[in-house]
Symmetry: C2
Subunit: 276 residues, 2 copies
C-alpha cells in the first residue's frame, strides 16, 4: 500500500484527478474489506506489543499517524476503527482543535511537541500542525511570509523526529464534495448526531476549492522521504479503514520490533520464586 | 455491583478475610462471564458517546477509573479489556511509574492533575496518587508525619474533583499471594513475557504483608462518599473484567448523559446544504 498510495513530493498534484470513491489495490467489495481488515488485527496487536516491549530495553522507535482531511472525511472514525486491535495503553491519541490562548502564545509546533508519542507508542493525531498551513492559509490567519516559512519549519521538525526514531505516516483522507454533503445531511437527519453538526460547516463548504488548493500545496511541499504523505480515498469507509490498517501494518513490519531478552537467570529466578 | 463491592470507609478491614478467587454476584463460570462482559459492550459504547456529546454542550461530567493492586494484579490487562468497547478518542489513559525528577520537584498531586480526564472523557489511571501512600509508606520514602497528612490531602483533592463533575471509581484489584507467584512464573516460562519480568518483583514479594497493611490503611482512610473504593477479587481475570465493566456501566447509567439538542433550524440547514 505504501507504494500505491504515496504522494510524490516536490510537484503539484491535482486532487480533482483522484477519485475519492476508488479502492486502489483494495479488497473487491465491502464484505471482503471488512473481513480483510479484521484479519489484520492479530498481527497489528502482536507488532504493537513487540514495539512497546522493545522500548523497555531502550529502543526509541515509535509511530506517528497523522490524519488530515476535510470535515466529515472520517478522521474520528478512523481513530476509532484503526486503533481497535491495539492495546490502548500503548496509544497516544490527540485531537487538535482551535488553539487555546496558551497555545497561541507559543510557536505553532509547541503543542505538537507536547502530544508526541513516547518510545514504543503509537501516536495518532486527529488534525495536526498541518492545520497551520491549511485553515491558516485559507482564512489568512497569519501574514503570507510567515505562512510560507512554515512548510520548511514543518519539514525540519519532521526530519528531527524521524532522526529520533519516529516513523511518521501522514494520511490525507480524500473525500468528494458530494460525499461531504451526504454525510452532513446524515447528521441533520439523526438527532443523536446533531451535536456533531455545526452551521459553520455549511459555510466552510463554500471554501472547498481554497482548502483543496491548500492541501495540494501542503502535499507538494511536505511529502518528504522522512515523512511521506499517503492519499487515501475515503468516500468508502470500509476501504479507508482497511487501507490505513494495512499502511500501519506495513510500517510496523518494516520496523520488525523484537521482544528484548531478559537480563536475568531464568532458572535461578524460578527457584527463588518457588521458595516464596 | 456498587453495593456488593464497595469498601466501607472509616474502619479497618482485614484483606486476608477476602477470598481473591471469589466471584461475588458474578456469572456462574468463565464462559458465562466472557459472554456477559461482551453483552455489556454496546451499552457502554452508547453511554460513552452520550457523555462525550453532552460535554460539547457544556456538561462537565466525566469518569475517572483508578486502578490499584499488587504487581501482576492485572491493572494493565484491565485497561486493555475494559476499555475495549469505548471510543479510544474519549479515553485518557495514564500509567504512573516512579516519579521523574520534574515530578519529584512538585507536590505529589501535581502529576495527577496533569493527567485528569477532561469533561466528557473517561480517564483511567494505572496506579495513581495512592502510590504515594503505598510504596511511599512501605519503603518509607517520606517522613511519617508527611505521609500521614497525605490521606487528608487525597480526600480533599478527590472531593474537589467530585464537586467539579468527576465521578471517581477507585478499584483495588485483590489477588492472592499464590496467584501472584503463578503469574510471575508464567512470565518466566515465556520468553515473550521476559520484558515484563523484573528481579525486583521477587524481592517485593517479601514485603507483601507491609503492602497489604498499607492498602488496608488507604482503604480505611480514603473510602469516602465522594470517592468510594471498590474491592474486586482479581484471581479470575474473567470476573475482574466483568465486574469492572459492570461497575463502569452502573456509574454511567447513574449519570444518564443525554445527547444535546442542536441549536439550529434543521430544515433551514438541510435546504442550504442541498443548495451547495
Amino acid at each position: 500500500m505504501r507504494d500505491v498510495l504515496r504522494v510524490p513530493g516536490g510537484r503539484r498534484i491535482d486532487l480533482t484527478a483522484y477519485d475519492a470513491s476508488a479502492v486502489p489495490a483494495g479488497p473487491a467489495d465491502k464484505a471482503a474489506g471488512l473481513a480483510a481488515t479484521a484479519a489484520l488485527a492479530p498481527r497489528l496487536a502482536d507488532l504493537q506489543e513487540r514495539l512497546y516491549a522493545a522500548s523497555t530495553a531502550g529502543d526509541r522507535r515509535r509511530i506517528l499517524l497523522v490524519l488530515q482531511g476535510m470535515d466529515t472525511s472520517g478522521k474520528g472514525g478512523t481513530v476509532k476503527h484503526v486503533i481497535g486491535p491495539f492495546n490502548p495503553s500503548g496509544c497516544r491519541i490527540r485531537a487538535f482543535k482551535a488553539p487555546t490562548l496558551e497555545e497561541q502564545s507559543h510557536p505553532f509546533l509547541w503543542r505538537i511537541m507536547q502530544a508526541l508519542p513516547r518510545p514504543g507508542e503509537i501516536g495518532i493525531f486527529d488534525r495536526s500542525h498541518y492545520e497551520d498551513v491549511l485553515i491558516a492559509r485559507v482564512r489568512e490567519l497569519v501574514p503570507r511570509s510567515q505562512l510560507d516559512r512554515r512548510y520548511g519549519q514543518i519539514n525540519r521538525f519532521e526530519q528531527s523526529l524521524a532522526e529520533d526514531g519516529v516513523t511518521i505516516v501522514k494520511v490525507f483522507l480524500h473525500i468528494s464534495y458530494e460525499a461531504q454533503r451526504g454525510r452532513l445531511l446524515e447528521r441533520l437527519d439523526n438527532p443523536a448526531k446533531h451535536w456533531k453538526f455545526n452551521v459553520g460547516d455549511i459555510e466552510e463548504r463554500a471554501l472547498w476549492p481554497a482548502y483543496r488548493e491548500a492541501y495540494e500545496i501542503a502535499l507538494e511541499r511536505c511529502a518528504t522521504d522522512e515523512a511521506p504523505w499517503y492519499l487515501v480515498p475515503a468516500d468508502r469507509k470500509w476501504y479507508r479503514n482497511w487501507a490505513i490498517s494495512k499502511l500501519l501494518l506495513e510500517h510496523l513490519e518494516a520496523l520488525d520490533p523484537a521482544y528484548p531478552p531478559g537480563d536475568f537467570d531464568v532458572d535461578e529466578c524460578r527457584r527463588r520464586l518457588l521458595a516464596t
